[in-house]
């Protein structure tokens, strides 16, 4: 993972209400009380984020927490009341209408919760739509669209209409459509929330498979903490329009910033999130075949418990960096709440 930010936002505010502008002019950083007094709603409040290239960045929050508004501010579907959104170092909020259209045509893709497929177009026509809008010839657009339809596993369904497909298949079309113009930045707004639990899991795997191949920079919105933990490189948790913590899943579990965050993490099986690297003791007193630092506890627990003493832990380049023993693993598996 490189760390040059692909997309960042600086002090982004979105306030709904008649006096939103004047409020932010009078108070640069209004408190809850100021906002309530002005009779406005703070949907996004002072959001700061840096999203690195190639990262899966998940924004997690319950409904009404402002996550959908925030992602629409990042894509400028909603005009923020104040702030900067830097995409490849360019402030999106200052981009002119034609510039914005150009950026959206070539550099951004978006997947929607309820698929947002055009009901009057076939699968192929839906997928090639963004290209047709750009003025690509129909023949070329068709070739490209067929490739992407095959990529998401819908080959043979090209001439069906959206309403003839199941929910999961419809969202595959939505995904294909968002990828057809080969965007760098991929927004997914609760893409799997409208699907059955079983299909949801299948689609999550599919999503990870695609990302392993495509390496997009991803902003993924969800209200499902399990999903966030499963997919994310990093997670931002939102509450009442504010981002209250940004961290890797492991950090969230180990050091939740507040009781609110801890409440989410409580039901997550720790062994599936925590890595060997986070639990090991530094040093070289381990023995046996070394296990990878990045391995999840649940994947190696059996091996560690079966071993007599501490087992060595190696980093990516194969160097021994520490050791781990069955006590540490047992603590995770039979978790004492709040500790690890």
């Amino acid at each position: 993972m490189t760390l040059s930010p692909k997309l960042s936002c600086r002090n982004v505010w979105k306030i709904y209400g008649p006096n939103a502008q004047t409020l932010l002019q009078t108070y640069p950083d209004p408190s809850d009380q100021d906002i309530a007094d002005a009779g406005v709603v703070g949907a996004v409040r002072s959001a700061n984020l840096d999203i690195a290239e190639g990262e899966i960045f998940v924004i997690m929050g319950l409904s009404g927490s402002g996550k959908s508004t925030l992602v629409r501010c990042l894509s400028r579907l909603i005009e923020p009341t104040k702030g900067e959104v830097l995409f490849d170092g360019v402030d999106l909020l200052r981009a002119s209408e034609p510039e914005l259209i150009d950026i959206r045509r070539h550099k951004m893709g978006m997947v929607f919760q309820h698929f947002a497929l055009l009901p009057h177009l076939s699968v192929l026509q839906n997928v090639s739509f963004p290209l047709i809008i750009q003025g690509v010839s129909k023949a070329q657009a068709d070739i490209k669209a067929r490739e992407v339809v095959e990529l998401v596993g819908l080959k043979g369904r090209e001439d069906n209409f959206p309403r003839e497909l199941s929910g999961g298949q419809q969202q595959r079309v939505g995904i294909a459509r968002s990828l057809v113009s080969e965007p760098d930045l991929w927004f997914l707004d609760e893409p799997f929330s409208a699907l059955d639990p079983l299909i949801r899991r299948e689609m999550q795997d599919e999503f990870l498979r695609l990302q392993a191949r495509l390496h997009k920079t991803i902003v993924f919105i969800t209200h499902d903490f399990d999903e966030a933990v499963r997919l994310a490189d990093r997670i931002a948790i939102m509450k009442d329009g504010k981002i209250i913590q940004v961290a890797t899943p492991e950090e969230l579990l180990m050091n939740p910033v507040s009781e609110y965050v801890a409440e989410f993490t409580r039901h997550i099986p720790r062994s599936k999130v925590l890595t060997v690297g986070g639990l090991m003791t530094p040093g070289t007193n381990g023995a046996g075949e070394p296990i990878a630092q990045s391995a999840k506890i649940s994947d190696v627990a059996e091996q560690i418990i079966a071993a007599e003493g501490p087992i060595s832990v190696a980093n990516e380049s194969g160097q021994i960096v520490g050791s781990i023993d069955r006590v540490a693993v047992a603590q995770v598996l039979f978790a004492r709440q709040g500790g690890a």
Binding site: F112, H114, F115, L118, H120, L121
Partner: protein, 663 residues
């Protein structure tokens, strides 16, 4: 015992007082020597109608911007509409002719009836299946056999021009209003007014601007048929899933691409409902439009009605219905087909367009061989059937054998229902009526509504139309009461009983497809002219919404509430009385509101059978081409409509708030 709260007591007291005033108002005024109480003094009347007539005269004779006069503009519009209309008319009815009068030479005859029927059958097959093809084919064959072909084609030509202009124009205006945040605010009161002003009121100015003839009729039809399209366009565009709009913008659409490639296609289903509305309203206008010069079936009905030739009028009226059914079903099927795109066929042009090719071949053949056999061009007159005599005989038979019964029914209603209402309403002193309306407005909607009610009713008084307005309220009110008494129980029955629901639905559908004039014919046949006839026609016309809304209201009561009632042990009757009816009340009120609107729009048509209300005033203004008189009376009807509409809507809103369905 009844337990009434103080405010309810006051309300009822005022109602009773008003009725007493209505009954004894005249005597009271005589006693007090204050006749102005019941009769608005003529010296107080402001002659709006003269002002308007003068203003109109100035507009037409003198108004100009630079060298461009107002008349030039109207002529340009007329020319624009006339070109396509002449073409379609020549194609369908009159044939292409060069030269005028006696020198006229027929270049190409009109399309043969055989080709038109083949074309319509092909269209029916294309849009759905053979079933539809047979239905619409039969409709057109009917027109030929019953000798209505020529008139029907003239009517069809005007429909073919009015519908695209109305639907297209409505779409564009709707899009315009959707795009601008203030557009809808600006346009919705205009639409409200356009839909409440009776068509007759604007026939007069149109007649003034465009002269007597089919173009005037087309302009009036388009003005009448467009507002619902505008409204439906705005609604349909707003109803497009916001995610789809977001997607369109994220795909990098320009504003134009977003509108025409994302929004309009996504909304196409709802938009087609609007187009269907335009078609139905256009056909509704057919008879009225013939008053300012449209020919065709409408003219036949009107002429027959004027000379009380029941048979001929009925036949032409049925022909309009048949045409309406064919066009309505075709447009609905077409709309459905638009929703389901089929895979494009392959092959040569002929292979892909077999139906079109067949019809074109027929066209060429009939044109080619037509000069040898006129049968190929025109349906032979000797083969037409007429049922006119049958209807005349039927009416004669009914009138001879059942005269006493019919008369008894009529007299009963007149004496015990219509006349008491009329006398009471006319007896209420106008200052009292205005203050009561203001008070009512205050009660249900606050100061703004009070101001509106008081202001508009005051305006009606000032124009000197108070007595006529009261007769309007009486006729409309009596009809609405009857329509409600009949319609709401029917609606409830339709909602509760499936089998009854099917029957009632068919009945209501049929009533709604009929053009408003058609109701008059059979009623006039049996009851002759007069208020009673007018009332029956209005009730028939205005019944549909009362039934529809009541049924919908009862059906949409949440099943949880019903189950809750059942668990408590309600009988079916108690369920209806305590749960279904109260919850459906707002919806039922809206249905009554629609009924009032339809009743008011029908008033002007019933003027033909000799009522003495505002409708008659407009009708007289039309025959005398008196713009001021027509507009003022038309606006007075619109004011009554607006007052009723706002009061009922506010009432329905209150009810919904009370039930927590709205806040």
């Amino acid at each position: 015992m009844f337990h009434l709260s103080r405010s309810a007591l006051i309300t009822w007291g005022l109602v009773v007082l008003t009725i007493i005033l209505g009954v004894y108002g005249r005597d009271l005024a005589k006693e007090l020597d204050a006749r102005w109480l019941v009769k608005f003094p003529s010296t107080w009347v402001i002659p709006f109608k003269t002002y308007i007539s003068d203003g109109m005269r100035w507009l037409i004779e003198e108004a100009a911007i630079g060298p461009l006069s107002f008349t030039d503009v109207t002529r340009a519009i007329a020319w624009l509409i006339e070109q396509p209309y002449q073409f379609v008319l020549s194609l369908l009815a009159s044939g292409f002719v060069s030269g005028r009068g006696a020198d006229a030479q027929l270049l190409l005859p009109a399309v043969s009836w055989i080709v038109v029927i083949a074309g319509i059958v092909a269209l029916g097959h294309y849009c759905r299946d053979w079933g539809l093809a047979v239905l619409v084919g039969a409709c057109f064959v009917y027109l030929a056999i019953f000798g209505q072909w020529e008139s029907a084609m003239i009517t069809l030509a005007s429909v073919l021009i009015a519908v695209p202009i109305g639907a297209g124009g409505g779409l564009l205006v709707g899009i315009w209003a959707y795009r601008r945040p203030w557009g809808e605010k600006l346009i919705s009161p205009v639409l409200d007014l356009m839909q409440t002003i009776p068509i007759f009121a604007y026939l007069v100015p149109i007649l003034f601007m465009f002269g007597f003839g089919p173009i005037s009729a087309l302009v009036a039809t388009i003005i009448y048929a467009t507002p619902p399209m505008v409204r439906i366009t705005i609604l349909a565009l707003k109803a497009v899933d916001p995610e789809i709009v977001d997607f369109g913008r994220m795909a990098g659409s320009t504003n134009r691409q977003l509108m025409w490639r994302v929004l309009v296609p996504s909304a196409s289903r709802s938009l087609m409902v609007g187009v269907n509305q335009v078609i139905m309203l256009t056909l509704n206008m057919v008879i009225i439009a013939s008053m300012i010069g449209a020919g065709g079936l409408g003219f036949d009905v009107l002429a027959a009605l004027r000379r009380l030739d029941i048979g001929a009028g009925f036949e032409a009226g049925i022909a309009i219905v048949v045409l309406a059914i064919a066009v309505d079903r075709l447009s609905q099927a077409f709309a459905e087909r638009m929703g389901q795109v089929k895979k494009p066929a392959t092959g040569t042009w002929v292979a892909r367009h077999r139906r079109t090719a067949l019809v074109l071949v027929l066209l060429v053949v009939t044109w080619g061989l037509g000069r040898f056999s006129p049968l190929l061009l025109e349906y032979p007159e000797s083969q037409t059937i007429t049922t006119g005599a049958f209807w005349d005989d039927l009416v004669k038979y009914l009138n001879i054998n059942y005269f006493d019964t019919l008369e008894a029914i009529k007299v009963f209603f007149l004496h015990y229902f219509l006349l008491p209402i009329k006398r009471t309403l006319l007896g209420i002193p106008w200052p009292w009526a205005i203050s009561m309306l203001t008070l009512l407005g205050w009660r249900v909607g606050g100061p703004r509504l009070a101001l509106l009610c008081g202001g508009l009713s005051g305006l009606i008084a000032i124009t000197g139309l108070w007595p006529k307005a009261m007769i309007t309220v009486y006729l409309c009110g009596a009809s609405v009461i009857l329509a409600t008494v009949i319609g709401v129980p029917l609606g409830i029955l339709a909602a509760l009983n499936k089998r009854a629901g099917v029957v009632i639905n068919v009945l209501i559908d049929t009533l709604q497809t009929l053009p408003s004039f058609v109701y008059l014919i059979p009623v006039v046949m049996l009851f002759r002219v007069g208020d009673f006839t007018a009332m029956i026609a209005i009730v028939l016309y205005a019944l549909a919404p009362a039934v529809r809304y009541a049924a919908h209201g009862i059906r949409s009561v949440s099943t949880e509430l019903i189950e809750a009632g059942q668990v408590v042990g309600c009988t079916r009757r108690q369920l209806l009385r305590h749960i279904r009816l109260p919850m459906a009340l707002p919806e039922i009120l809206l249905g009554i509101n629609q009924t009032i609107m339809l009743a008011l729009s029908m008033l002007v048509i019933t003027a033909l059978v000799g009522t003495r209300d505002l409708g008659q005033e407009v009708y007289i203004a039309l025959t005398k081409a008196d713009i001021g008189r027509g507009l003022v009376a038309g606006l007075a009807i619109a004011f009554i409509a607006i007052i009723a509409d706002r009061l009922i809507n506010a009432g329905a809103r209150q009810a919904r708030i009370r039930f927590g369905l709205e806040n």
